[in-house]
């Protein structure tokens, strides 16, 4: 650029010098000065043109033309504000929806953890010989892995990621979600305290159990009003005094970033404040900690895996009784925390992809709409284009100019879309998910989101602009300039109709997919659980936390059941050690006589829940064979179990399993007899196939904490208080938490939370696509009617009745809509093959959804045709004929 300026500055002088030299030469040859100068000038040629050509050598022609196009485009857009407003709004809606969805995908999938060198952070999962996955490692295993993997990991930390504790501050009690961590946790994650210090690194092999607490940043802000003097303050966790020593940095939410960890305690503290067994540091059977590890600088994930394979082999050889490890696998730690089963399809990824596709479809619909508007304008601007072509505008130059206009629209739409996206993602962030867990919906816009929005806008501008630009510039100068504009628009009309067909088709597909999705979510919610969550109220109580031993706890639970059954409004009462789709579940390995695992499968295993009698009545889980758990299945009587249908099918191949026995690997002395078969129900997650599961009597399988579950005849929400006071009248110090209805309890990440969120999103996208289709159909039909005002006038002058005109216009709309519906059905059938993979309880070709959506779209599209048809009907023939 600078070179250009310098070169051109001297040009005038150079030319003057040149002419002067030539003049002098001429004088030397004997010409008179005047003659000489004249000859020199003639020989030099047109000075102005030379300057211009020279300047052009240095100019960025395309840039200057672009500025020219932009200026012209702005002028054109300002000249028709109505068109501009509609087009920009349409694009803003499309881009806004995309941006909002993308900001969620960004948050759920793309955005790295807010820690230093986030790509080094990994989590470990262990694969058992039985084939199952888990991320719960025993503490001794954690220590072995930590000590033996120093070649690949610079730090290895153990975490109990998700505990709910009671925090008491100056007489005020509130729940706090905590992680119990090893001393090097914060160092491993690479975060520095916002205030105070962090839990001290572990010294030697001792387990850190200092009574200290680090608060999460937002918890500190909301519950301690950001008190800067908080350090050193004494509070209590589950009745045990602890000292606040630090505050985690802002934006750091622990190892499950989408749920806010509100407090961090030393792992050893879990022995006193939580239910970690006192011998956990030496017990290889317990699943005490999840493991997060930081890769050494430069180390790749796949380079770490072989080292872990070696450790897994070593551990299983060394401790064959407890460590049945097939492998230890290493995974990057993503925003949703360590996966419990890394082989399961990642629902969040699938959903993210699904919604990006839906949003993309909405954007395409918006493009079609704008393309349509541009085409309509193109026919109005045909004369302008013809004139410009006639005075020497090349086609490519005209196309470039039209594309500049559509890109300008897209950029305006992009600005609007980002604004809309900000508003809607703010709204999405503030959605009350009605969960007790502190979900952090943090859809802030980072550079990825802006880049995405900008990219989407550019693409939109090109897509929406290219067809109209190609069409508008393909003009036959003669016909346009000589004939009336009316006759030259048939081609445009065809293109426009094709666009509307595509649009109706696309919206039909969008609506059908959204509809299927919403229906499938309703199915999950209502019929597919295998139990009935309505009117069930849960209370999790922890006798161990209250200092009860097993015998005391049994007594307490016995009288508690007795007392709550007497409460008015309680139909049945029972307790269980796990809640379906809750945050933890149990499983065990079995020995089954006569069962030979198929090659490639591990030893038989089953998930289990220890329940009291009446559990099946409370949960409405049907007993399909045999009996349920009875009071007579006591501590000393023969071990029994009720298995689910999936277990009966897998291990007894559909034969009657009642009376068959199996052995729990943990307790080989007491064979278990199957006394009943229960219907399949959702236990661990909502969508994968039912696996083997069994129910054992709580009396024969003591474990704490337990969840008291009541089926009530009153609205369950009203009874919480009364039940808690009953519990406390029996045991004043008993910790009671997770007081929620079963429906609320399903709002977990394993359960329905994502699905509910998804249903709302799918529905909003469907509605958006629907509106866009509506605008499109209305636009094209009313435009066609307008274009035909002249023709309608002639028809009416020749005696056509208004009814005929209406029919004629409606018919035109109908053809377009019918063709669109046909296309849409084909598209939907094609899409259903993919969509069908994550639908529950409804097929991808569900006729009801198809019929409802098609009928709805047809009705509304016809209504959109009707308005222009009515207007056409009222045309005054005289006015119409004079209309030019």
């Amino acid at each position: 650029m600078r070179r250009r300026k310098r070169m051109l500055e001297d040009l005038d002088q150079d030319i003057r010098d040149h002419i002067e030299m030539e003049t002098r030469d001429n004088i030397e040859r004997g010409m008179s000065p005047e003659e000489a100068r004249y000859a020199a000038l003639r020989k030099f040629g047109n000075v102005t043109r030379v300057k211009e050509e020279t300047r052009e050598v240095w100019s960025f022609v395309w840039l200057e033309q672009l500025l020219q196009d932009l200026r012209y485009g702005v002028r054109m857009l300002r000249k028709s504000p109505g068109f501009t407003a509609v087009a920009v709004l349409t694009l803003a809606l499309g881009i806004g929806a995309n941006t909002a969805i993308f900001s969620m995908v960004d948050w759920l999938i793309l955005r790295p953890l807010p820690v230093a060198k986030a790509e080094q952070i990994t989590s470990l999962a262990l694969q058992e010989i039985s084939g199952g996955y888990s991320n719960g490692f025993s503490y001794p295993d954690f220590e072995d892995i930590r000590d033996q993997s120093t070649a690949v990991f610079s730090q290895v930390a153990g975490v109990q990621p998700w505990e709910m504790d009671g925090l008491s501050t100056e007489g005020r009690d509130e729940p706090i979600w905590t992680s119990y961590v090893t001393g090097n946790f914060f160092e491993t994650m690479g975060v520095k305290p916002a205030l105070g210090s962090f839990i001290l690194p572990m010294l030697g092999r001792s387990v850190n159990d200092e009574p200290v607490l680090v608060l999460g940043y937002s918890f500190w802000e909301t519950h301690f009003s950001g008190d800067p003097n908080i350090i050193g303050k004494s509070v209590s966790i589950n009745g045990h005094p602890v000292t606040i020593i630090g505050v985690a940095p802002k934006g750091f939410h622990g190892i499950t970033p989408i749920m806010d960890t509100q407090g961090y305690l030393p792992l050893g503290m879990a022995r006193v404040t939580s239910d970690l067994k006192s011998n956990f540091a030496t017990d290889r059977k317990s699943a005490a900690v999840a493991i997060v590890a930081r890769l050494r600088p430069g180390m790749k994930l796949r380079e770490a895996q072989p080292a872990l394979n070696v450790i897994a082999r070593r551990l299983s050889a060394q401790y064959p009784a407890t460590d049945k490890l097939a492998a230890i696998r290493v995974y990057p730690l993503g925003p949703i925390g360590p996966p419990s089963d890394p082989t399961a399809p990642n629902m969040i990824r699938l959903m993210g992809a699904f919604f990006m596709i839906l949003a993309g479809l909405v954007l395409i619909l918006a493009c079609l709409n704008v393309a349509n508007l541009l085409l309509a304008r193109a026919s109005a601007r045909q004369r302008e284009m013809a004139v410009r072509a006639a005075i020497g505008g090349g086609r490519s130059r005209l196309i470039r100019q039209l594309l500049t206009e559509s890109l300008l629209l897209a950029l305006l739409g992009c600005a609007g879309g980002i604004a809309l996206g900000l508003v809607s993602s703010h709204w999405l962030s503030s959605i009350n998910l009605k969960t007790v867990i502190p979900v952090t919906l943090d859809f802030q816009f980072d550079w990825r989101v802006f880049a995405y929005a900008f990219g989407a806008a550019l693409l939109t501008g090109l897509l929406a602009g290219i067809v109209p630009a190609l069409r508008a510039t393909r003009v036959n100068l003669n016909s346009v300039l000589h004939e009336s504009a009316r006759t030259a628009t048939a081609g445009h009309q065809r293109t426009r109709s094709a666009l509307v067909v595509a649009q109706v088709g696309g919206s039909l597909m969008l609506l059908i997919v959204a509809g299927l999705f919403v229906r499938s979510l309703l199915n999950i919610k209502h019929s597919n659980l295998g139990f009935d969550p309505s009117r069930v109220l849960n209370f999790t109580i922890d006798p161990h936390g209250a200092g009860y031993d097993e015998a005391q706890a049994r007594d307490f639970l016995h009288s508690l059941l007795h007392r709550v059954r007497a409460l008015p409004g309680v139909e049945t009462a029972s307790f269980a050690t796990t809640v379906p789709l809750g945050y933890y579940s149990f499983g065990m390995e079995l020995k089954i006589e006569g069962y030979q695992p198929p090659p490639g499968h591990g030893a038989p295993s089953a998930g289990y829940n220890a329940v009291s009698p009446e559990y099946f009545g409370t949960m409405h889980i049907p007993i399909v064979r045999g009996r349920g758990i009875l009071d007579s299945d006591g501590q000393t009587s023969a071990r029994v179990a009720v298995i689910n249908e999936a277990m009966a099918k897998r291990y007894w191949h559909g034969e009657n399993p009642i009376g068959r026995r199996f052995i729990k690997i943990d307790d080989p002395k007491h064979p278990v007899e199957i006394v009943g078969v229960a219907g399949n129900s959702r236990t661990r997650n909502i969508s994968s196939p039912f696996g083997p599961y069994m129910y054992v009597p709580f009396a024969q399988h003591y474990e704490t904490p337990v969840t008291l579950q009541l089926r009530t005849s009153l609205p369950p929400g009203t009874m919480g208080h009364e039940v808690v006071s009953v519990i406390h009248s029996l045991a004043p110090a008993m910790p009671v938490f997770d007081i929620q209805t079963m429906t609320e309890a399903l709002d977990t990440l394993n359960g329905l939370m994502l699905f509910q969120f998804g249903a709302a999103l799918a529905a909003s996208l469907g509605i958006l696509g629907f509106l866009l289709a509506l605008v499109g159909v209305y636009g094209v039909v009313s435009y066609a009617a307008n274009q035909r005002t002249h023709e309608i006038g002639i028809r009416m002058a020749l005696g056509a009745q208004p009814g005929d005109v209406r029919k004629f216009i409606l018919k035109q709309g109908l053809y377009v809509v019918a063709a669109g519906l046909g296309l849409g059905l084909l598209l939907s059938l094609a899409a259903s093959r993919i969509v069908g993979n994550f639908l529950v309880g409804v097929r991808g070709t569900d006729p009801l959804t198809y019929a409802i959506v098609a009928a709805l779209l047809t009705t509304v599209a016809l209504a959109a045709c009707y308005i222009p048809a009515r207007r056409a009907m009222r045309v005054d023939p005289m006015v119409a004929l004079r209309h030019e």
């Binding site: 010098d17 030299m21 000075v47 043109r49 050509e53």
Partner: protein
């Protein structure tokens, strides 16, 4: 379209002029007027270059970095811009010359038989 044909003719002329400038500068740096004179003189005034068109060509060559420009004094002690062939320009001259030879040869081969046929 007439403009298009004109453009092509100019393009051909431009290329040729570029080649002539490069060839002239092979003898040593020169200022604009001297280049014009040399071309005229060496072509026995057959090529009547419109002297002005030299300047866009010179600037084009500068932009491509085939020639460089420096301040100097002309034969009558006036400050003037001297244009000098760069190493890149020297290489380009070889390329352009061989291109020109090929082109000229090709045209000659086409024209001669055509002449003969025309006569017979």
């Amino acid at each position: 379209m007439s403009t298009k044909e004109q453009n092509e003719r100019i393009a051909l002329l431009q290329g040729t002029l570029d080649l002539l400038i490069l060839r002239t500068l092979l003898l040593g740096p020169a200022h604009g007027h001297a280049i014009a004179k040399t071309i005229e003189f060496n072509s026995d005034d057959v090529l009547q270059v419109e002297q002005g068109s030299l300047y866009p060509a010179l600037h084009r060559l500068i932009k491509r970095r085939w020639i460089s420009v420096e301040e100097g004094t002309s034969e009558n002690n006036r400050r003037a811009k001297f244009y000098r062939l760069t190493a890149k320009g020297r290489r380009q001259l070889v390329v352009e010359t061989s291109k020109w030879d090929k082109l000229a040869g090709a045209i000659a081969r086409i024209l001669r038989p055509a002449e003969q046929e025309g006569k017979s």
